[in-house]
């Protein structure tokens, strides 16, 4: 009976306004880090340099969108009583897969990320999206939702890493940006801000991003 009704429904185009919102919303209005305040730990730990932050973002992007699709494909088959376990198994196996690939192809970065790749399993963004979205939506929509949230996570991570690497070590992606002649040791006036390399500054940077975001988007400000 249900199937007949579904056929009658008008077919939605792949990039309808509603579907596009699935990608754009998490970038700003419902950003997983700055608005939902999830996945903060990794944002603090691996944003000292841009390169590991990029690899971490891509890993989360992959795990989130692939996992969303898998969960969505199985959504009518998963027994309700063990659905959380099923979600955990899916995210854990995807994360192990990512970890193995990183160890084989980008060994240095995988060493730098160390436990944090494994900790993607406990990243609340991922279980949150599985539970709140993928279990009730079609694979395509879930894929878009995964991409949206992944990018929402990625741009915050990359922004934080950009400022931390630039001000903390004068480099971007390992390339020297601040001219050598500016440094005190070379007779200049500049010195790297060592505080930027420590985790507390990541928290403060995320805080500043949240501040800027809320001052531009007043709808996000909670009423007291």
């Amino acid at each position: 009976m249900a199937e007949v009704q579904e056929v009658k429904k008008e077919r939605e185009s792949l990039f309808s306004k509603k579907n596009r919102k699935l990608i754009t919303d998490p970038l700003n209005d419902s950003n997983p880090i700055t608005v939902q305040v999830l996945g903060i730990c990794s944002a603090l730990a691996i944003t000292v340099k841009l390169y590991p932050a990029l690899v971490m973002s891509l890993s989360v992007l992959f795990v989130l969108s692939a996992g969303n699709v898998v969960i969505s494909l199985m959504r009518n088959l998963i027994p309700n009583r063990i659905r959380i376990i099923v979600q955990l198994v899916v995210v854990a196996s995807l994360v192990i897969l990512v970890d193995q690939v990183l160890k084989a192809y980008v060994y240095d970065v995988s060493k730098e990320l160390s436990v944090f790749v494994g900790l993607i399993i406990t990243n609340c963004i991922i279980m949150g999206r599985f539970e709140a979205f993928a279990l009730g939506n079609t694979p395509w929509k879930s894929f878009l939702d995964g991409l949206g949230n992944g990018f929402g996570y990625a741009w915050i991570l990359l922004t934080v890493a950009f400022f931390r690497e630039l001000l903390g070590s004068g480099q971007l992606f390992g390339f020297q940006i601040v001219p050598e002649s500016w440094y005190l040791s070379e007779g200049g006036f500049y010195s790297n801000n060592g505080l930027m390399l420590l985790p507390p500054m990541a928290l403060i940077t995320v805080g500043i991003i949240i501040w800027v975001q809320r001052s531009r988007n007043t709808e996000l400000i909670e009423e007291n």
């Binding site: 009518n76 027994p79 198994v89 897969l97 193995q100 084989a104 192809y105 060994y107 420590l198």
Partner: protein, 246 residues
């Protein structure tokens, strides 16, 4: 179909576990050779960096073949044959008594000078620490040192990896003038003399771990190295006599 039946739930769980296990073991097995190669090249990089040769991972193998002229395994102060020094796992060896270990020793030839590279492994605060120390021809003076760790605290114990710590080692002496073994003491500041270096403030347990690691691992080598020293001194003596004869 009732997806909430007990029998369905069990079947679903069982099938899922089998599928996931098969998929992951396939991925792990097919990527293993590349991962092992990465680990091998990193070990070569570490050995080379203890004699101050920094190479990228791609160049590691070539440079290793160029500089490391000999690998020996020492057991109870004697060379043993039939074991590849590079494949000896220090983590298993340090569990044995120093004289029963199969201790690998790498002999390097850099710019005509001979260096003895000794692998080390010990305990830090949170997990294993390891490293390589290279000795000059007199088998006492440290030429270079490199350390690494699994899970020491960033900014504190993890600093043993940093140059600020490893650069304290070159020039220090392992042996006393009379030939007895002293090792390196890691001090809480005010290090002086040729057997002491300053530890890392806030990383005392890891620093002491380095000291213990050095004295523990060196035990398997000291006697052998002394014989090497006497042998090479002997050849030098012979050479000199030969020159005088002429």
């Amino acid at each position: 179909m009732d997806v909430n039946k007990n029998s369905y739930t069990f079947t679903f769980a069982a099938v899922m576990v089998i599928v996931v296990a098969a998929m992951l073991s396939f991925a792990a097995t097919s990527l293993k050779p590349m991962q092992d190669n990465n680990i091998r090249l990193e070990k070569m990089q570490n050995i080379l960096s203890s004699i101050n040769i920094e190479v990228s991972r791609e160049e590691a193998e070539e440079a290793y073949d160029k500089y490391i002229t000999k690998e020996v395994v020492i057991n109870n102060s004697k060379e043993v044959s039939g074991i590849a020094a590079f494949d000896v796992e220090m983590s298993k060896e340090v569990a044995k008594a120093p004289m029963e270990r199969n201790a690998p020793l790498y002999i390097a030839d850099k710019d005509g000078e001979t260096y003895y590279i000794i692998p080390m492994r010990g305990k830090g605060l949170w997990g294993p620490i390891w490293g390589y120390i290279s000795l000059e021809k007199n088998v006492s003076t440290i030429y270079g040192a490199t350390f690494d760790h699994k899970s020491e605290t960033p900014g504190l114990g993890a600093e043993i990896k940093g140059e600020s710590f490893t650069s304290l080692f070159p020039g220090k002496e392992m042996l006393e003038d009379n030939g007895s073994f002293t090792g390196i003491q890691v001090m809480k500041g005010n290090a002086s003399g040729e057997h002491q270096v300053n530890g890392i403030s806030g990383g005392t347990i890891t620093s002491v771990g380095v000291q213990t690691m050095i004295s523990d691992c060196m035990k398997s080598y000291v006697d052998y190295l002394k014989t090497v020293k006497t042998a090479s001194a002997g050849t030098m003596e012979d050479n000199r006599l030969a020159t005088i004869d002429q």
